[in-house]
Every structure is written in structure tokens, then in C-alpha cells.
């Protein structure tokens, strides 16, 4: 994929390196030449010095044929406008903007931009570590509103059917791993001691899930 990144800070440089290591064609834009030092010597992509809204700069970065664009500069407004330019003026198929303010992140989702709010995600994650250190989260979806957790079946719930754990709209067991093989449970699937469950749970329902699991 051809990817254009605006902003070579901590996140931008790491993102550029990750994508580049996976073999993607990366162009990264920043106004400060020194910021490119963060990329390290092994970075193979293009470093474009200039202002992120400048037509010339964007086109030099190859935005006209880019498959994806990400704005990760320190300013929310700059990221919003950068993402809108990529989407509206250049029709880039995948556009992501990092937005610190969670309220704004919601508003800009309405304008068709995928937004990631590290503020909300980070707060949700830290809260979870403080309050639910015994829950092993494998994956956070969205900004942490839904978590995918892994739980081993222990005697208090062994012998029950997996649908006993499900709560509509809040908790769902979607996979059971037994003796190294995974399957999707149906109504009536009995859980054995030692089974590994994968459960999708709304962040707000974690305490309820803990009660059900007897944790």
C-alpha cells in the first residue's frame, strides 16, 4: 500500500517504521526537519519537508495515488483538516485522524473520518488495569468500548452451557478453545474445565462478567 502520514512525532515515526518494515510505501510529512531523526537510519520511505496542507507538499508525498492517509500531528484541528483534505480533495480510500479531544472525535466520525482518540482509549485502558487486573484483555475495539477477553474455564462454571454467560448487548462468548482447537459455540455447548473462552464484553459490563465467572 502507499501510505501518506502527516506528522513525524512519536506516533507518526513509529507508524511510518511499522508500515515500512511490512513493505508498504510510506511518505511522511513534517514541517520540522529534525523530527525525521526519530525515524532512524533504516527507514526506507520518503521524508517530505513542508506544510501538511500545501498542495505541492501533499502531491510530492504522492497523495494523488495513496491508498491510505493518517494525520498524527500534535494539533487536533490540523489533523481534522488534513484528514478532510485527503478525503475530499484527493479521495484517499482510507483516512484516519488522531484526535485527543473525545467530543471532537465523535463529531468528526459524522463527517466520515475514522478518528482515534488516545485520550479515551488510554483512560479506558488504565481504568481497566486498575479495576480489573484479573481480567486478561486480548483486544480493545473502537476506543475501548468493547473488550475481547480470554478466560480459562474453572470449576465454578465448568459443566454449564456457554450461553449462560451471554447477556444480550453486553456479553458474548464467541469462541471456545478445547485441546488446542477452537470452535464457535452454539446454544447448549457445555463448557469443560480447562477450556479457553474468548468473550466480547462491553467495557461497562466487565464487573457483571466478573460476577458471572465467579472472579
Amino acid at each position: 500500500m502507499e501510505v501518506v502520514i502527516m506528522g513525524c512525532g512519536r506516533v507518526g515515526s513509529q507508524l511510518a517504521n511499522l508500515l515500512s518494515m511490512d513493505g508498504h510505501d510510506v511518505s511522511i510529512i513534517d514541517v520540522d526537519e529534525k523530527s525525521f531523526n526519530r525515524l532512524g537510519k533504516s527507514f526506507k520511505g520518503n521524508k517530505i519537508l513542508g506544510f501538511g496542507y500545501d498542495k505541492e507538499v501533499l502531491e510530492k508525498a504522492g497523495i494523488e495515488h495513496a491508498d491510505a492517509y493518517a494525520s498524527v500531528s500534535p494539533g487536533d484541528n490540523r489533523n481534522i483538516i488534513g484528514a478532510l483534505i485527503a478525503k475530499r480533495e484527493y479521495r484517499v480510500p482510507i483516512v484516519v485522524a488522531r484526535i485527543y479531544d473525545p467530543v471532537r472525535a465523535i463529531v468528526y466520525n459524522k463527517l466520515g473520518i475514522t478518528t482515534i482518540s488516545p485520550t479515551r482509549w488510554g483512560a479506558n485502558k488504565i481504568k481497566e488495569l486498575i479495576c480489573h487486573s484479573d481480567i486478561n484483555s486480548q483486544l480493545s475495539l473502537g476506543n475501548g468500548e468493547v473488550e475481547v477477553i480470554e478466560v480459562e474455564v474453572l470449576p465454578p462454571i465448568a459443566g454449564f452451557t456457554s450461553d449462560k454467560i451471554n447477556v444480550p448487548g453486553e456479553i458474548m462468548v464467541f469462541s471456545i478453545t478445547r485441546l488446542g482447537k477452537s470452535f464457535v459455540p452454539v446454544v447448549g455447548t457445555v463448557m469443560n474445565s480447562g477450556d479457553l473462552l474468548h468473550i466480547a464484553v462491553a467495557a461497562t459490563a466487565i464487573p457483571q462478567l466478573k460476577r458471572i465467572l465467579g472472579l
Binding site: N77, R78, R88, K110, L111
Partner: protein, 135 residues
């Protein structure tokens, strides 16, 4: 008319005073607290301390009942953000703005929610060029 002005810089302040003296109801949002405090009391102008790019600030400043929004901050990205938020409102207020840097002129169009925009740098440059040619 209800006029909502974002940015109490030279343009915003002058515009607010002008429009209020003509009898319009003006709300002026400014994110610098000291500027707000110094502004003083002027008839028909309500000064609001806050970030005009924040959807909640715009809502409490009455964006839903305003006829015109003037996005006249010193940051082009802020002016563009205000325009995007304005066009999400059901009342679709008219949006006028200034372009601080001529390189951003290509973005201040209808498709970006801007109904009219002026570029002081471009205007002044043209005028000065004319002055030079006059001899």
C-alpha cells in the same frame, strides 16, 4: 441578525463593534482569557471565553440560532474547523471567513462549508502592486 464571531483579534473585534453598532446581536468567542477580560462591556456584544473549535462551546454560544458565523481567527485550520461544525447544524448558518495564508486559499470554498472568504494578504499585495505601478 444574530452574528457569531470566532476570534477577538483585530478583525473579529472591529467586525463585532461595527455589526453591533448597526443593531445586530453579536456573540464573540475568544480562547485567550486575558483578551476576554480586557474587552469590557459593549452594548449588543456578548464576549464568550472558550475555544470556538469546540462543539460544546459553539453550542452554548448559540450556534443553533445564529444567522451568520464569521470565522476570523488567525489560524486557517481553526477557521476551517468552525465552518465544518457550522455546516453540521440543522439551521445551516451562513459562514464567512478570512484566509490568513494565501497558500490555503484553495480550501476556502463552498465544498468546505465556506460561503465567502477574504484573503487580506492577497488583497493588500494587489493594492500595493497597484500603488507601485502608479508612480
Amino acid at each position: 441578525m444574530n452574528i457569531l464571531i470566532i476570534g477577538a483579534g483585530k478583525v473579529g473585534t472591529s467586525l463585532a463593534k461595527d455589526m453591533s453598532s448597526k443593531g445586530h446581536k453579536v456573540s464573540l468567542i475568544e480562547k485567550n482569557e486575558t483578551v476576554c477580560e480586557k474587552f469590557g462591556k459593549i452594548k449588543n456584544i456578548e464576549i464568550i471565553y472558550g475555544d470556538g473549535c469546540d462543539p460544546l462551546v459553539l453550542e452554548s454560544a448559540g450556534i443553533k440560532v445564529t444567522d451568520v458565523i464569521a470565522a476570523v481567527t488567525g489560524d486557517d485550520e481553526d477557521n476551517l474547523v468552525v465552518a465544518q461544525l457550522a455546516k453540521l447544524q440543522p439551521n445551516r448558518p451562513r459562514v464567512v471567513s478570512i484566509i490568513n495564508h494565501p497558500r490555503n486559499e484553495w480550501l476556502f470554498t463552498k465544498s468546505w462549508g465556506i460561503d465567502a472568504a477574504e484573503s487580506p494578504t492577497s488583497i493588500i499585495t494587489k493594492l500595493i502592486e497597484e500603488d507601485i505601478d502608479k508612480k
